[in-house]
Symmetry: C3
């Protein structure tokens, strides 16, 4: 058995059925032109392994991009025993067993060579992509596309485009952002009016190519308010031309660009994924992808004006700080357009998933819950991450619904199917979109 | 069986015994002149159902007060399947089964007519009040009385008056507040001195009519300090005469009225229920009763001066944000006059109750815990809400006390009885009151 | 059986093995010249009992230091039934049974005399110290030494010195602090230069005497930044000479002294224990040791500059507010030098330990976790507190590792041994120290 079923018999029954279902994954960082890993370095290069190993004592140089892949893998393997308690390690082992027939129970410096060889697919990349896709029973996986992504070369029904907008909101003042925007849109962006025009071009193109969400990650100090283009016109122009800005002007720019994006989400009927919490580069000496953290003092109350104003926009919300889950339950219980979405990053471990999930199942309308997304960079991770969630879901339903309320197994499975498959498909279908 | 007993045998044994006990409910919004629901619209009109259905897609107009009751019920019934996972839905089903012999396991558009007919009591209202009271084994239920409530027409031993003071503290500047206060007290309120005199009249009257608590809900930005009448004299006069106020003056008014109430609580030996956290009207387009939320960034540290100064006043505290429970445990562990009171509103679901309750049972002196209150608007809700709590309590005691520490069932039941019945009776007895 | 083993068979198997292990306790307040209690007043005098009894209604005078020990004990015994639900009470009973052959299941006014007599050791103090040490299988216990502690008269391999620095950072402006510092170091402290010199003398002496950590508790409003001696030179001089200071100057002094301590920790390879959260004297009318609380609005983000700058210093971190645990998991998952350390004070009850521990075991490299410390004032408490933790650890491993992931009992025990024994020994070994 590649995957550990739950020990409790009812939970196992639920899990085993869920494990037969397809996967619809509404958020990932998969590269659709190279979705599965070509070698084990592309698996072990996931920031969870490099950052945990580094946190456990591995010098960052040992996984430097300047090294060759096999060396990086061998280096990291020397530290895996220090993190073999983590849930992230369990994903790794599930990948090794499920996809590479790895026969051992731990990955060690002794057997890493064997695993590296087994996972070598550089000569058969696309066939391997298809195999992982099939074995995972993937139905669709959402991408994270930079605004200037050409969006060509793949089937957008399977690899669903999603417009990621962090750079536009948070880095408009950086020269590359405006240059990229001009090139991507053929609009000569010089001020707020042309910026707005360019953003319209982006939405048009993304939607035409099958995009089903707009997404952004926002720092804890961001609290959106209704920005007026009028007031922002000067700061935006100054940002576009890389002129000095006062902090309040910089915030004005973030606000007006963000609000403009929400307006286009309304116009194009795109859900706007809000990923709330990260502060970038808190630990600059960390490994790539392992430098961001958060300040837990953040509240969804800061988003009330947004949620009220854009009552027609669906906001699937992920929160980063594990203690913020209760607020998300309450806000999705009240606001029709707020959707609790999956379990994210530092909150994506079974202990926090179990606590959040239990509360959501008890207090948020079932039709509003998007159970899970993988956030994966390589296809191989979709399955073990979803299985982790399915396991917690099975245990929660066995305890609270089947034993706790006398539900039948079928009724519990109906609820599971809703939050794993039907809800995300419906919520991200751009229902009512006229385009 | 109308109620689902816990699955675990020890927990079931504990629950089944508790289910035989009377209920003493130290906080509700029951109307004592019309306590039980005259029809099923008065049950389904509870904000939990309208707000959850609205959050799940039901337009607010479908439950407009302008519609007739049966239409509202039929409209809402069309959305109940979207929220049938919630604990609130389980209360509804328990009401239907316990009080109306409803034979089905779900409430649907097909059987809602049957349920509506079964629950029709408009011709036998008072007999129905008595039947619900008896079936629930109610001993007493505390009310939430506006300060100008005439407090007449019911037995205050059963329907215990409680002076609710939100309007005095938070809305003194609104013209109706002062008018109501003048009429209720026959005091010509013009300044702080006469305001104080009027409040004294209120306390006198409430206590004479059997009131056993003063109560208020406070927003997260409120942090009481010792207000001096001297400094507040001008802002209070300006508020009473509806003159413009600066924000700091408005706060000064809130502070001095609140502090004055605490002084009267001390004088009249009334516990002062603090319900900390709600922000009103965060979602103005919501259904009635479903517009309030919170900002989780709140701390009991803001109440230290109050707790210290009024060492003779008992403060039963409810906190709204689910993540605030740990602080309440610590503050009630240290301050003799701080009492952790029940599980409130957004924190009143089994997932949060279980976490909070377990911690309270492990760290707060048992004589200080007020287990639960219903917060109900109609009598029918008291029983299923208390049963929800009793179930969590039974499971917690079975795990932590009986299996965890080898307690006998009887010892566990003693503790349950203490926090469900004996503590609230003693704490709200106005012990030592001279009046 | 003095100790209740877990009820679950797998957990019991794990616990029973752990209960045979020695204890390595990396933080306590033991007095090495009088480690075990000479009488039961020294047990019941632990602030947990006096503060919980006081919170439950006992007047503080009943445990006044002016009373004789037996009277205090008899007074407090009259209130123990009010707190016999608490985990702290369970430690007490375990002490009575394990160390004093107390045959009863509750401590009452009727049998307190018997217990007092059984626990009387004034004539055989040192033999008793040895007996408690042996029965607890103690290997080493860390102390909390004031900076002017002479550090003589005991074996520093067993009673490990630890430099506590609260007074230097938070109370430099108080005359006694500087006087004590001058006497302890023979440095004529007059300004920042001589202050620094004196602190160097302290580190030198502590390390020479076997100190293995520097420690401090910090209030929630403290957020360390890189203080420059240059800017601080005047405020420090003013503090040393007890001249008036503005709040910003006072903060400047705290900052520069704290940063200086961290520099010496780097130089002497001492881990720097950060105990984050307490606010002193929130409830001034409380019993001794029972007056401190916290404001839960605190974030480790405030420590980023410290963690980055002192990458060579290990920071074992304890957080006070129960809801802060998730942030500590994330910061120790990313920063190599941040260690989640035990479960502290208001967070040291099974409900919070279980939640925090589960998350740490799932997401923090196993080699970085310091499972537990007793924080005890008397040796007798080390065993029951460690047993409480071992019980939670056994239950967590039985659920999540053995049943959840199919680990063998041996593998689960390896992990337990690592966080209970091997990690603390290695982390506090001053590895790499040149001195």
């Amino acid at each position: 058995m590649p995957t550990t079923s739950p020990h409790d018999p009812k939970a196992r029954e639920l899990f085993d059925e869920m494990a037969r279902w397809p996967i619809f994954d509404p958020h990932s960082h998969i590269d659709p032109t190279r979705p599965a890993a070509r070698n084990f370095d592309e698996v072990l290069g996931y920031h969870y392994y490099t950052e945990l190993a580094h946190s456990a004592g591995m010098p960052a140089e040992l996984v430097s991009p300047n090294l060759d892949p096999e060396t990086r893998v061998r280096n990291l393997a020397g530290y895996l025993d220090r993190i073999d308690n983590t849930v992230q390690y369990s994903w790794l082992l599930e990948i090794a067993k499920t996809f590479h027939d790895f026969p051992h129970d731990r990955i060690t410096p002794q057997n890493i060579g064997e695993l590296y060889d087994r996972a070598q697919r550089s000569s058969s990349g696309e066939a391997w992509d298809r195999e992982v896709w099939k074995k995972s029973q993937l139905e669709a996986v959402f991408l994270t596309n930079e605004f200037d992504d050409p969006l060509e070369g793949w089937d957008p029904q399977k690899y669903v485009p999603c417009l990621r907008t962090d750079d536009l909101v948070l880095k408009l003042h950086e020269p590359t952002t405006v240059d990229r925007l001009r090139r991507a849109t053929n609009v000569d962006v010089q001020d707020y009016a042309t910026l707005r025009q360019a953003i319209g071009v982006l939405f048009e193109r993304f939607v035409k190519r099958g995009a089903r969400a707009c997404a952004i990650s926002l720092p804890p100090d961001f609290a959106p308010y209704r920005a007026t283009a009028k007031r922002a016109v000067t700061p935006v122009r100054r940002a576009i031309h890389q002129m000095d800005q006062r902090p309040d002007e910089h915030d004005e720019v973030r606000q007006v660009v963000f609000w403009t994006l929400a307006e286009f989400c309304a116009e194009f009927r795109l859900p706007f994924d809000l990923m709330i919490g990260p502060i970038r580069n808190v630990y600059p000496a960390g490994v790539a992808g392992g430098r961001d953290l958060f300040d837990r003092r953040v509240s969804l109350h800061g988003y009330r004006e947004l949620f009220n104003h854009f009552s027609g926009v669906t906001f699937p919300v992920s929160t980063l700080s594990p203690d913020a889950g209760g607020e998300l339950v309450a806000y999705s219980w009240i606001f029709p357009n707020v959707i609790p979405m999956g379990h994210w990053w530092y909150s994506n471990i079974p202990a926090y998933i179990a606590a959040d999930l239990r509360a959501r199942l008890q207090a948020v309308p079932k039709v509003k819950q998007v159970g899970y997304y993988s956030d994966a960079y390589k296809l191989e991770f979709v399955l073990p991450k979803f299985n982790m969630f399915r396991r917690v879901l099975a245990e929660t339903l066995a305890d609270d619904a089947v034993r706790g309320q006398g539900w039948s197994i079928d009724r519990a499975l109906e609820l599971a199917r809703l939050i794993l498959l039907e809800n995300p498909k419906r919520i991200f279908s751009r229902a009512g979109a006229a385009s």
